[in-house]
C-alpha cells in the first residue's frame, strides 16, 4: 500500500509550519506559570493535540491528494476541519497557553498595541461584533454556503492559495462558531444552555439544507465532472451524492453531541432553579 508511506504524502509547508509553531508555543507556554493560569489539564491537552493531529490528517495526508479528484474526499477534509478539529480546539481552550509561549518581551508590547492602540479600535469593535452569537452564526453559515457555490468551489480546485484561504476560513469560523456553545475555560460562552441547544439545532438545519441540495441535484455542479475518470470509477453525480451523504449524517455527529450535552446541562440548571424555589419564596398574589 503505497499510501502508507509518508514519503509519498503531499507536503503542505504552510500547514505544517502553522501546526509546528502552534505546537511549540503551546509546549513552551505550558512551562510558564503566569499568575493564576496554570497549564492545561491532561484532557485539555489531549483535546489540543488531537485537534492539531486532525488538521494534519485533513490537510497533509493522502486525503489531500484524493480531495483533488473526489468530491467526497474533499468534503471529508472540510468536515474534519469544521466538525472535529475546530470543536476539539475550542474544548482545549489553548489560546492563553499558546500566547504564553511567546517571551514576555514580545507579549507585552504586542498586547498593548492590540488592546489599547487607538487606530485598532475599529478592528476591536469589529471583532467584538463578530463574536456575538447571531453574527457568528450568520457569518459561518454564509461562509459554508459560499464555498459550495460552483464558481468559488472550482476556483479552490485550480488555485492552491485560495484553497488555503478556504481551509483557514473553515477552521477559523468553525472555531468562532463552536466558541458560542462550548465554554472555553476560564471564560464562558455568552448563551444560556437552552439557547445553545436551539443554536446548534438551527446551525445543523443550515448544513442539512445544503446537504439536501447536493443530494437531490440531478447533475454534478463542480469541476470534478471534467476529470476523465475518478478513483473507484464512480460517476461525478454519485461522487457528489456520496459527499452530500457524508455531510448530512457523519457531519451531524458533533452537532448531536453538543445538542445532547447542552440539553443535559440545561436540565441541571432547571433542577437547581426548582430546588431554590420553596413556597415561602413564591409571591402571594393579593
Amino acid at each position: 500500500m503505497a499510501w502508507l508511506n509518508p514519503l509519498t504524502w503531499p507536503l503542505e509547508p504552510w500547514v505544517l509550519l502553522g501546526i509546528e509553531v502552534t505546537g511549540i508555543l503551546y509546549l513552551w507556554g505550558g512551562q510558564r506559570r503566569v499568575g493564576k493560569f496554570p497549564p492545561a489539564s491532561r484532557w485539555r491537552a489531549v483535546a489540543f493535540w488531537s485537534g492539531l493531529a486532525t488538521i494534519v490528517v485533513a490537510l497533509d495526508t493522502p486525503l489531500e491528494t484524493l480531495a483533488r479528484q473526489l468530491f467526497w474526499a474533499h468534503m471529508t477534509q472540510h468536515l474534519l476541519l469544521i466538525m472535529v478539529a475546530a470543536p476539539l480546539l475550542v474544548l482545549a481552550a489553548p489560546w492563553l497557553q499558546v500566547w504564553r509561549g511567546l517571551p514576555l518581551r514580545i507579549r507585552r508590547p504586542v498586547a498593548k498595541v492590540i488592546i489599547k492602540h487607538p487606530t485598532l479600535s475599529g478592528v476591536r469593535t469589529a471583532f467584538a461584533r463578530l463574536s456575538t452569537p447571531v453574527i457568528a452564526f450568520t457569518v459561518s453559515g454564509v461562509n459554508l454556503w459560499f464555498w459550495h457555490w460552483p464558481a468559488a468551489y472550482d476556483l479552490t480546485l485550480q488555485n492552491h492559495a485560495v484553497h488555503h484561504v478556504e481551509h483557514a476560513l473553515f477552521l477559523g469560523l468553525g472555531i468562532l462558531f463552536w466558541s458560542q456553545v462550548i465554554d472555553q475555560h476560564p471564560y464562558r460562552a455568552r448563551l444560556g444552555q437552552f439557547a445553545r441547544v436551539v443554536y446548534v439545532f438551527l446551525a445543523a438545519i443550515v448544513s442539512w439544507a445544503l446537504a439536501a441540495l447536493l443530494a437531490f441535484a440531478s447533475g454534478p455542479f463542480y469541476a470534478y465532472a471534467d476529470l476523465p475518470s475518478r478513483p473507484g470509477g464512480i460517476s461525478a453525480l454519485a461522487d457528489q451524492q456520496l459527499g452530500a451523504g457524508i455531510m448530512w449524517v457523519p457531519g451531524s455527529i458533533t452537532y448531536s453531541i453538543v445538542f445532547v450535552v447542552c440539553l443535559y446541562l440545561w436540565f441541571g440548571e432547571e433542577d437547581a432553579r426548582g430546588h431554590a424555589l420553596t413556597p415561602a419564596r413564591v409571591e402571594v398574589a393579593k
Binding site: A215, L242, I246, W248, V249, L263, F267, R273, P279, V282
Partner: protein, 619 residues
C-alpha cells in the same frame, strides 16, 4: 360599532351539523360540476366532502367565534359552567379539555372497532391461498381502508383522550392554551372517519395507505376520500400540536420546572413537535394530488414534467415522523407508569428526556429507508441506513431508563404494569426487527413482505396499543370515576398478549418465506401458518371484546366509584378529587417536588395545593 347581545339562533350540536352537512355535500358536488372539468367528478366529490365537513363544523358551532368577532357581537362562552353537568355536554362543542378527552376516547374506540373488523375481514380472506374469498380489487381496497383507518386512530389514540384530559392536570393548569383549537382538532376526526368509510361506496381505493402516484392520480373516486380524510387528520395534528405545545410551554404552574414535568407530558410534547411540523408537508402533498386529479396538473406524472418521486419523498418525509407520533406518547406512558408501580424514582429522568428528543430529532432523517427499492440514488442508501440504525440508540436509552427503574424494585403488578411489561416485550421484538429492515441488503429482500408488516404491527399494536391499554387501566379511574375490574383486566392482558404474539410472530416467518403484502393469493405451502395466524387474530379480536366488556361491566354493572388516588401515586393529576372539578384545581398549585420521588426520605409532596392565596377565577 355597537356591541350587541345578538347571538346566532341555531342550536349547536351534531344533529345540526349533520343536517347542514348533507346539503353542504350536494352543494359541493354541484359546484364541482359547474367547472366542467374532465375529471370523473373528482372535483365535485372533493368539494362535496370539504363543504360537508365545513357545514358540519358550522353546525357544531365553530363559526360562532369568527362571526362574532367579525360583526362585533359579544363573544359567547360556549360552555356555561352551570351547564357543565350531564351527558349532553359530551355531544356538543365543549371547551373543557376533560370533556374533549372523553369525546376523543369514545370516538377513537368506535373507530378502532371498525378498523379491527377490517382486519378480521383481511385475515378471513387469507384463510385460503387464492382470491376466492375476496377478489383482488376488493382485497386491496380492504387493506387500504383498514390501514388508513388505523393510521387515523393511532395518530390520535393517546394524545387525544389522554393528552387532552391529563396534560393540564399534570402541569397544574386549569385549562388549555387554545381550547377552541383543541376542540377543532377533535371535531374534524368524526368527519374524517365518515369520509374514509364513504370510500366503500366508490369501491375503495387501490393504493394502500401510501397513495403512490400514478395509480393514485388515475384511481377512481374512492381516492378522494383518502385525500380529504387524511387532510382533515393533518389539520387535527397541527391544531392539536399548537395547543399542546403552547399549553406545556405557557401554562405550567409555579414551580413546575422543566425537570419536574412528568414523563407522559414530555412524550406528548415531543409528539406534538413532530405532528406540528410533519403534517403540513402531508397537507401540501395531498393538495398536489388533488390538483393532479381534478385540474389535471402534473405534479406526479413523469410524462408531463412531474415525478412520482416527488410524492414519495414528500409522503415519507411526513410518513416517518408520523410513525414516531404513534410511539412517542407510548414511550411517555411507559416511563410514566413504571415508576409509580415500581415505587422507585425514575432512573435517569434526564436521560429519558434526551432519549425522547433523540428519537424525535432522528425521525426526520430516516425517511428514505422506505424508498430503498424505489429507485433512489443508490449511493445515498448507506446514509439512510446509518441514520435509521442510529435511531435505535435513543430508543434503547428509553428502554434502559425503564429497566433501570425496575432494577431491584418491589413491583406492584397491577394491570397497567402488566401492559407495560407486555409493551417492553413486544416493542423489543418490533424494534429489533426494524434494525434488520434498516439494513439495505436485508431490506432489498424483505421490502414488501410480511416481515415489514410484522415489524410495524409489533411496534404499533404491540407497542402503542399495549401502552394505550396500560394508560386506560391506569387513568380511566380518574377520567370516568369508576375502577375497571382487575380480574377481567388480567384476563384481558394475558389473552391479548398471547393472542397478539401468536398472530404476529408467525408473520415474520411467513415474510422470510417470501409472502408478499397486500396480495390475497399466496404460496399454498403457507396455508398452515396463515390459518394459524387467522385463528389467532380472531382470538386477538376477542381480547378487545373482553376489554370492551370490562368497560361496560365496570361502568354500567358494578360501577364501583374510584377514590381520588387508587394507585397512591405522587403525580399531580392524582392529587385532585374524582370526579375532577370543572376548573381542575381550587387554587393554582405550587409545585415543590418531582413526581417520581418514591422512597426518598423527607421527600416533599409534589405540590402545595393550598396554592396561592387569592387565586380564583380565570381559565
Amino acid at each position: 360599532m355597537v356591541v350587541s347581545e345578538r347571538r346566532l339562533s341555531l342550536p349547536n350540536n351534531p344533529i345540526t351539523g349533520i343536517v347542514l352537512a348533507i346539503p353542504g355535500y350536494f352543494a359541493g358536488v354541484w359546484l364541482g360540476t359547474l367547472f366542467g372539468l374532465d375529471d370523473d367528478q373528482n372535483t365535485g366529490i372533493i368539494l362535496g366532502y370539504l363543504f360537508a365537513t365545513a357545514a358540519f363544523l358550522i353546525g357544531i358551532g365553530f363559526l360562532n367565534y369568527p362571526l362574532e368577532r367579525l360583526f362585533g357581537w359579544q363573544v359567547t362562552p360556549v360552555t356555561d359552567p352551570a351547564e357543565n353537568t350531564g351527558i349532553g355536554r359530551f355531544f356538543r362543542l365543549s371547551l373543557d379539555h376533560k370533556v374533549i378527552g372523553i369525546q376523543y376516547l369514545v370516538t377513537i374506540l368506535i373507530m378502532l372497532l371498525f378498523g379491527g373488523i377490517g382486519a378480521m375481514l383481511i385475515r378471513t380472506s387469507l384463510l385460503v391461498p387464492d382470491s376466492t374469498i375476496t377478489p383482488p380489487g376488493n382485497y386491496i381496497s380492504l387493506i387500504g381502508l383498514h390501514a388508513v383507518m388505523m393510521i387515523f386512530i393511532t395518530s390520535a389514540v393517546i394524545v387525544g383522550p389522554f393528552g387532552n384530559y391529563l396534560v393540564p392536570l399534570m402541569i397544574g393548569a386549569r385549562r388549555m392554551a387554545f381550547p377552541r383549537l383543541e376542540a377543532l382538532s377533535f371535531w374534524v376526526v368524526p368527519p374524517a372517519a365518515v369520509i374514509l368509510a364513504a370510500a366503500t361506496f366508490w369501491g375503495g381505493f387501490p393504493t394502500g395507505w401510501t397513495g403512490y402516484p400514478p395509480l393514485s392520480v388515475q384511481a377512481g373516486q374512492g381516492m378522494d376520500s383518502y385525500i380529504v380524510g387524511f387532510a382533515l387528520i393533518a389539520v387535527a395534528l397541527v391544531t392539536s400540536g399548537i395547543n399542546m405545545l403552547a399549553t406545556i410551554i405557557g401554562l405550567r404552574a409555579p414551580g413546575m420546572t422543566w425537570t419536574r414535568l412528568p414523563m407522559f407530558v414530555w412524550g406528548i410534547f415531543t409528539t406534538s413537535i413532530l405532528g406540528l411540523l410533519a403534517a403540513p408537508v402531508l397537507a401540501a402533498a395531498l393538495i398536489m394530488l388533488a390538483m393532479d386529479r381534478t385540474v389535471n396538473t402534473s405534479f406526479f406524472l413523469a410524462s408531463n414534467g412531474g415525478s412520482n418521486y416527488l410524492w414519495e419523498n414528500l409522503f415519507w418525509f411526513f410518513g416517518h415522523p408520523e410513525v414516531y407520533i404513534f410511539i412517542l406518547p407510548a414511550f411517555g406512558i411507559i416511563m410514566e407508569i413504571v415508576p409509580h408501580f415500581a415505587r422507585k424514582p425514575l432512573w435517569g429522568y434526564r436521560t429519558g428526556v434526551v432519549g425522547l428528543f433523540g428519537v424525535a430529532l432522528l425521525s426526520w432523517f430516516v425517511w428514505q429507508h422506505h424508498l430503498f427499492v424505489s429507485g433512489i440514488a443508490p449511493v445515498l442508501r448507506p446514509f439512510y441506513m446509518l441514520s435509521t440504525e442510529l435511531i435505535s440508540i435513543p430508543t434503547g436509552i428509553i428502554f434502559l431508563v425503564v429497566l433501570g427503574t425496575l432494577w431491584r424494585a418491589r413491583v406492584w403488578f397491577t394491570v397497567p404494569m402488566l401492559f407495560c411489561m407486555g409493551f417492553l416485550f413486544n416493542f423489543l421484538i418490533g424494534g429489533i426487527s426494524g434494525v434488520y429492515l434498516s439494513d439495505v441488503p436485508t431490506d432489498v429482500t424483505l421490502h414488501g413482505s410480511y416481515f415489514s408488516m410484522a415489524h410495524f404491527h409489533y411496534t404499533i399494536m404491540g407497542g402503542e396499543i399495549f401502552a394505550l391499554m396500560a394508560a386506560a387501566y391506569y387513568w380511566l379511574p380518574k377520567m370516568t370515576g369508576k375502577m375497571l375490574s382487575p380480574t377481567i383486566g388480567r384476563i384481558h392482558f394475558w389473552w391479548m398478549f398471547i393472542a397478539f404474539n401468536s398472530t404476529f410472530f408467525p408473520l415474520f416467518i411467513v415474510g422470510l418465506l417470501n409472502m408478499p403484502r397486500r396480495v390475497a393469493a399466496y404460496n399454498p405451502d403457507l396455508v398452515g401458518l396463515n390459518r394459524w395466524v387467522t385463528i389467532s387474530a380472531y382470538f386477538l379480536f376477542g381480547s378487545m371484546l373482553v376489554f370492551a366488556g370490562n368497560l361496560i361491566y365496570s361502568w354500567f354493572f358494578v360501577a364501583r366509584p374510584a377514590v381520588a388516588n387508587p394507585w397512591h401515586a405522587r403525580s399531580l393529576e392524582w392529587q385532585v378529587p374524582t370526579p375532577v372539578p370543572a376548573a381542575n384545581f381550587d387554587r393554582v398549585p405550587v409545585i415543590v417536588a418531582g413526581p417520581y420521588e418514591y422512597g426518598i426520605p423527607n421527600a416533599r409532596p409534589v405540590a402545595d395545593l393550598g396554592g396561592i392565596v387569592g387565586a380564583t377565577g380565570g381559565g
